[in-house]
Subunit: 189 residues, 2 copies
DNA sequence: GCGGTAATTTGATGTAAGTCAAATAATAGC
DNA sequence: GCTATTATTTGACTTACATCAAATTACCGC
């Protein structure tokens, strides 16, 4: 697991038990079946979704083509950052690729927690920080790596994506055509 | 100005005068002459740099090529997010492209302010949020727009960059070769 | 098992944009 | 002013990757 994510987790666990109990009241567990949309363009995001089990993805449609921007596994948090922060309608889909077990963290109630307990605000801030750094890294990868290098990086950093998902989705995540991905893979064997 | 930046500014101004005074003690004004580096790879960032006057840029070197990732004008904040958040050595340069007047915001002292006043922490958090959303948008542009579309977007959103900076820098910011940028421009006239 | 659909691979061809190289144009120093 | 240097433009050529199309393979439901 990423060391920064680990720090966030450790901090969460070390919250005052009283505070932790109160925070956890905000969490609601939910089941989503495969193919369901957790968010659609036009809807304003009202919750973070902690994926407890299964796989989900975020994507948007550009020129009749689905572009996958994030893929979520166990312990990942699915959210349209844009819609959450700016409190405006999303322009992305969040889709359950398998049956999911998710924990819903309602913004309104979590917001109250943040204002009541600065340590909760800190954890939320660290989460955003992680997101920002992750985006910056991705941006750097797009600027410097070609198709096969991006694939190599994916295999190194997020091998589960290549392992569990169909070429179509992996290719759109790497921003290459599925044919090119297929060719890259065949060269490696 | 971006509406979210405006919100951050308004909030800053509306801080309790007592708090504001204390925060401003942390700010130190400084002059940097053209060509100076405010940060170099290997150094760990110890301060945010608010540009009061002049132009600066952030870039990194990849395969003997300078890749400009951010350009700062009046009221922008120059910082290696990565180095700041992870508190690790930076891998980017921050360079004064003109003579600069900057306000240095020391992390250590600002950190104390954040812990003392939750409203200061909130402002810092909003700044990071803005950064994250900005990165996400850039990422989306790289995924969906070709060279001339990226240039068009630049002219629409950050025209000053194209106006005040040499082709070399603008091209590396758009992640295209300077020759291509020159050709795009000549086609538009 | 078999037929039908969807996913993946393979091949042929097109193109946006990179690279290399040379020609202008702009800028600064003296 | 003129030269030296640097920045920008223009041209010829190359290449990584997309697109289109067809072939193969995998995956279902019955």
């Amino acid at each position: 697991m990423d060391p920064y994510i680990k720090r966030i987790k450790d901090l969460s666990k070390r919250l005052d038990p009283q505070v932790l109990a109160e925070v956890e009241e905000v969490f609601v567990d939910k089941h989503c079946s495969k193919g369901t949309f957790l968010l659609k363009p036009g809807q304003t995001s009202t919750a973070h979704l902690l994926i407890r089990k299964g796989i989900a993805r975020k994507y948007f449609v550009h020129k009749d083509r689905e572009i996958t921007t994030e893929i979520y596994f166990h312990d990942d948090v699915a959210v349209s950052l844009d819609s959450y922060i700016m409190q405006k309608p999303a322009d992305v889909y969040i889709e359950a690729l398998t049956d999911l077990e998710v924990t819903v963290i309602d913004y309104r109630r979590f917001y109250q927690m943040k204002n009541k307990y600065p340590e909760v605000m800190l954890i939320d801030k660290m989460f955003i920080e992680y997101y920002a750094v992750w985006f910056e890294q991705k941006l750097c990868e797009f600027r410097t790596l070609d198709a096969s290098e991006r694939y190599a990086k994916l295999m190194e950093k997020e091998p589960d994506i290549a392992r569990f998902l169909p070429v179509t989705i992996v290719a759109s995540y790497l921003n290459i055509s599925l044919e090119t991905l297929s060719r890259i893979r065949s060269k490696l064997t």
